[in-house]
Symmetry: C2
Subunit: 317 residues, 2 copies
């Protein structure tokens, strides 16, 4: 029998899942809507169906466990705590999945899952100290120290999106000011675009951007075409990112920050100004030493193979 | 033979040393001036003499290693890098000590040594995730994650004194602005006192404080006597400390911050406002969960017994 693990990456809009071999090879992969307005049981039922379809066609494969990455997923308790963009409140996802899948089920947060994926199968393979930054609706982080994931005392270490870079900065949903994700994330970029709209009433490009559902590829194209506002937007966002990374590096001294998720596709457009700002704000003993890299894993895979490695190698978790 | 380790805690003004048994018991302890204007060899010679005096009188004791804590001490290279308040530049202290002591010699920074001491023999014995904060001339930190000291990629993790709490704040010697130690340390408190002097020209207490060598005990007494300026000073300093701790907690999620060193003797005068500010600035998921404690070890001992445990239990380092 070919043993496989189900890796699940629960997102605010969609949930990616896949059956993964111990080598990290993704046997098959799919995506379904999360339906955050329905109870989480609904998602568990639909995932079970999808997996059954596959296993019926592949009787030589045996499911041996389920690894789950989710926003605000607490590794210690198995509970997703009031996840943003989902109306679930606190939900004991491990118990819910257990009813549908009678295997080992392990939960971590989505950024930790991506960090695990990068450590097991990506460019962080030989790194013991690195930070995975996920740029989605918000900004998440998964921190490796001394070769293992940092959970902290209560399982909630790595809330780098809420590192404040300016005590008088933008107000965050969390009630505090200047949180990094209010500048560097889909949410933050939307705020920056709105500020640019006010500042540049005659700029046809910036005025043409939609209020919601801004597509990063549109910004990338505009940047490449030399649109002043798109360049200013990435410079500004990259600089804020660099300031936040310098703050984190002062405590953690990592080998690299690895950027993952939607907006990471901007690549050097964002990372070049981030690198410059980080080096400006780093202590002299750190300057020029810390890498900012783009994730080496396919956008849709780091989360699920990282989640699967919760089962395959619990000891490094 | 009774095996002992020499623990050395090199400070900007004085160096504390002691012979320590595996139990953590300090057999004997002394203090000599560091003489930062003399070469480091001079300090090594004087330490060797002191240890020889003791061992000649105690022939049943055998020295088996030397552990050293020093500001900017790099565990990986054995080099103290341009230590503040010492004119040594970069000095390979491990090689220098090796010439006088032909044993295992291990270096770490002073705050890490104190953290090790607290972990081995103090209130952090059962903690896997905590941060030791040393309040001396500057502010140092030693971070435990997953039960071991965090060195990071290059050995320089834990520079919490240089976490910026205000991008437009006080200018630090490091060239950056708003570093925590510009508010919370002897250096920072001196600056705050000078600001209070300008703000309160008629306050006889605050005007009576010396420009240099401000004694924390004078402030403590004034606080207890209800001096408005002393109360304001500790409130202000404690609040800045709390903001810095909240920032660090957002990344590290520790069980406790443990405060050590000269100004930690202020105790609740400083820790009460720090606790209040930290809880105000923490994410709601962390609020009320993270302790701020005073070190349980004698002021002069955590450094040397921590340094000694570099030899006694290298695996937890």
């Amino acid at each position: 029998m070919n043993k496989v693990v189900l890796g699940i990456d629960i997102g605010g809009t969609n949930t990616v899942y896949g059956l993964i071999e111990q080598s990290g090879h993704v046997l098959f992969r799919g995506q379904i809507p999360t339906f955050g307005n329905e109870p989480a049981q609904n998602l568990a039922n639909r995932l079970r169906e999808k997996v059954d379809y596959f296993l019926e066609d592949h009787p030589d494969h045996e499911l041996t466990g389920v690894g789950v990455g989710a926003p605000n997923g607490n590794h210690f308790t198995g509970v997703i705590q009031d996840p943003p963009n989902l109306n679930w409140g606190d939900v004991d996802i491990v118990s819910i999945l257990k009813k549908k899948f009678s295997y080992d089920i392990i939960l971590t947060n989505d950024a930790n899952a991506a960090a695990l994926g990068e450590k097991k199968f990506g460019i962080a393979k030989d790194m013991n100290d690195f930070v995975m930054i996920t740029l989605g609706t918000g900004l998440g982080s998964g921190i490796f120290t001394n070769g293992s994931l940092l959970y902290g005392y209560d399982g909630f270490a790595g809330e780098m999106g809420h590192l404040s870079i300016d005590p008088e900065g933008r107000l965050c949903n969390c009630g505090r000011k200047g949180c990094l994700e209010m500048y560097v994330s889909a949410k933050g970029i939307r705020k920056s675009v709105n500020e640019l709209k006010v500042k540049n009433p005659d700029d046809t490009f910036i005025q043409s951007l939609p209020e919601k559902g801004l597509d990063g590829r549109v910004l990338d194209k505009a940047f490449d075409a030399g649109e002043r506002a798109a360049i200013e937007l990435y410079q500004f966002t990259g600089e804020k990112l660099g300031i936040g990374l310098a703050q984190a590096a002062t405590l953690l001294s990592p080998e690299a920050f690895i950027i993952y998720g939607g907006y990471s596709n901007a690549g050097e457009r964002l990372l070049e100004p981030a690198r410059r700002a980080m080096d400006e704000y780093l202590l002299s003993s750190h300057k020029g030493k810390i890498l900012i890299l783009q994730s080496s894993l396919p956008q849709s895979e780091a989360g699920i193979i990282g989640a699967a490695s919760l089962i395959w190698s619990p000891r490094t978790v």
